[in-house]
């Protein structure tokens, strides 16, 4: 067999590859990949972000062994938090078994020697892109979000100097302008994901590209939510038990997406559904996007039937 294929295991390798025959002190990667100074800087940034909920804190984002857009911000946050006793879950679009989720789990299994899981309840850190798990989070869990565009005002105002002034003065009229325009054109608020919200009645925040279905899960959540944007080099946070209110009009209130019928696999009626094309004749299935939740529901109903 080809011996050059690197095998990912839950066991950390005894020694990192050493093609240049470097002396051993240069050879080993630091625990959880990032050097301690970088982790320290990110932790300080996160403390500030938690202290001022929803406000964006700049950090000096490192180059990561993956391209921007694949979760470099989230990985750096996770790397600065993770310890040997943590249990890590990574989801991408709600799923535990997509390429990105599998790779990031393997990355930390290898570099931080942590246990990984796909079960929401077992995880102490959940790194995510695009979803918040359907299961209620607890107060000993941390959610880490991979954020592409941290600035909620950016599509409306291109100048950074101006957006930071607007945040400082809590001037969010532009946000309502966007909603007004949506209703005039589409007869409803047409933001289906990354729905801007006001955190702790003070800062406007982009909740990263989660569907607006998940916005209510942020409000008064027991878990700590940390957001990392690698390319834009920004950190922000929603601490536990913090108000997160979506922007809306009193006569056009915020509402989540609703689905006709439940999940085709587990029958769940209160979860976010993905449309899966199953053949080339237009056949479609609506199934849970949260694979762990779907699995659990199927096991439960299967158990009852037996």
């Amino acid at each position: 067999m080809n011996s050059k294929i690197i095998k990912f295991t839950d066991q950390a390798p005894k020694e990192a590859p050493n093609p240049l025959n470097l002396p051993s002190k240069f050879r080993r990667l630091n625990y959880a990949y990032l050097d301690e100074d970088t982790k320290r800087e990110i932790r300080r940034g996160l403390l500030k972000a938690v202290a001022v909920p929803g406000s964006q804190v700049p950090f000096s984002g490192r180059e990561m062994p993956m391209p921007y857009g694949w979760g470099t911000g989230g990985i750096q946050v996770t790397a600065s938090l993770i310890g040997p006793n943590d249990v890590l879950k990574v989801i991408d679009q709600g799923s535990d078994d997509t390429t990105n989720a599998v790779s990031i789990r393997a990355f930390f299994a290898k570099t931080a020697k942590v246990k990984t899981t796909t079960i929401t309840k077992e995880a102490s850190i959940i790194q995510t892109r695009h979803r918040i798990p359907e299961d209620r989070l607890t107060d000993d869990q941390i959610m880490v979000y991979q954020v592409p565009l941290p600035e909620p005002l950016r599509p409306l105002e291109p100048r950074e100097s101006e957006t930071s002034t607007l945040h400082a003065l809590k001037e969010y009229g532009l946000m309502y302008l966007k909603l007004y325009e949506d209703i005039s054109v589409h007869k409803e608020i047409a933001i289906s994901f990354d729905y801007p919200s006001l955190v702790n009645e003070r800062y406007a925040m982009s909740p990263s590209p989660i569907p607006r279905f998940d916005n209510p899960k942020l409000n008064m959540s027991k878990a700590l939510h940390l957001f990392g944007a690698g390319r834009e080099r920004r950190l922000y946070a929603v601490p536990p038990y913090t108000k997160v209110a979506p922007f809306d009009f009193e006569d056009y209130p915020f509402r989540i997406q609703d689905f006709v019928g439940g999940c085709a696999l587990c029958g769940s009626v209160d979860s976010y559904l993905d449309e899966i094309v199953i053949d080339d004749k237009g056949g479609r299935l609506m199934v849970c996007s949260d694979t762990d939740h779907c699995q659990k529901m199927r096991e439960k109903s299967g158990g009852e039937q037996k």
Binding site: T165, L169, E171, G173, L174, Y176, L177, L179, Y180, E181, I183, S184, V185, F249, E250, D251, Y252
Partner: protein
């Protein structure tokens, strides 16, 4: 005039490096009057307007504004937050080029609603109803409410900009060459509109123009600027019919007769 002024500027001075923007400008605006500011290009008219509206910081001098609630504030001494709040509720600023005063990426309705939404309006229907009302007031058909101003003609854009500024019923409006760049028939309609709105709402305004015809038609008092200073001021008819300063005489005699 024993009435209390709505805006009072004292000793306004602004230099751009070694260039003089304006020098020791004193002026007062009284309720429901339009004050004209004329002079050639580069005489400091726009500098004065920007200083008065708080868009530019003076090197020295003060601008005192009497708010709707009766308090008097110095536009340049208050916090940025308060200045911005006042600028979008009690003051208006009509740019010569409507592109500078409008958001071309959103509909006309959204342009008018913007000030209301920034001021805390949280009802879509109320904001929209007011946008329709003001669109009609500036003689634009309500059927064009959801159109983007890119599709509007120059005259319509200027009227939309006026609606956008007046929707919060400001007390004082700064007009920077509001009829510049429009053809004469469109100018005439716009001037009619401005006169009517001013009479209906009891607006005060400061009008910057180099068109003496526009100044005569709109303003009650006139100030003439040259090289950053005010060289002559008085009732518009007096200044234009009996100019005292040589420069004003030149300005008045340079106007083309049709």
């Amino acid at each position: 005039m024993n009435e209390k002024s709505i805006l009072k500027a004292q000793n306004l001075t602004k230099n751009y490096g070694s260039q003089v923007g304006c020098l020791g400008v004193d002026l007062e605006v009284y309720p429901s009057e339009i004050l004209g500011l004329v002079g050639e290009s580069g005489s400091g008219k726009t500098t004065v307007l920007n200083l008065l509206s708080g868009r530019l910081k003076p090197d020295c001098g003060s601008v005192l504004y009497s708010m709707a609630c009766g308090d008097q504030i110095d536009i340049h001494a208050i916090s940025e937050a308060k200045r911005r709040a006042i600028s979008r509720s009690e003051l208006g600023f009509v740019h010569q080029n409507p592109v500078n005063g409008l958001n071309l990426n959103v509909s006309a309705g959204a342009n008018i609603a913007e000030r209301l939404l920034s001021g805390g309006e949280r009802s879509y229907h109320r904001a929209r109803a007011k946008a329709i009302k003001w669109l009609e007031k500036v003689e634009i058909s309500a059927s064009r409410l959801d159109e983007k101003p890119e599709n509007y003609s120059g005259g319509m854009r200027q009227r939309l900009q006026i609606a956008k500024n007046l929707v919060t019923e400001p007390k004082l409006v700064f007009l920077d060459e509001p009829t510049g760049g429009l053809d004469v028939s469109v100018q005439a309609r716009l001037l009619d509109l401005l006169r009517r709105l001013q009479a209906d709402l009891g607006l005060s305004a400061i009008l910057v123009t180099h068109d003496l015809g526009v100044a005569r038609l709109l303003s009650q008092r006139l100030m003439v600027m040259k090289d950053g200073r005010i060289i002559e001021s008085g009732l518009t008819d007096r200044v234009l019919d009996d100019p005292q300063q040589p420069y004003t005489q030149l300005l008045v005699s340079s106007t083309l007769e049709v």
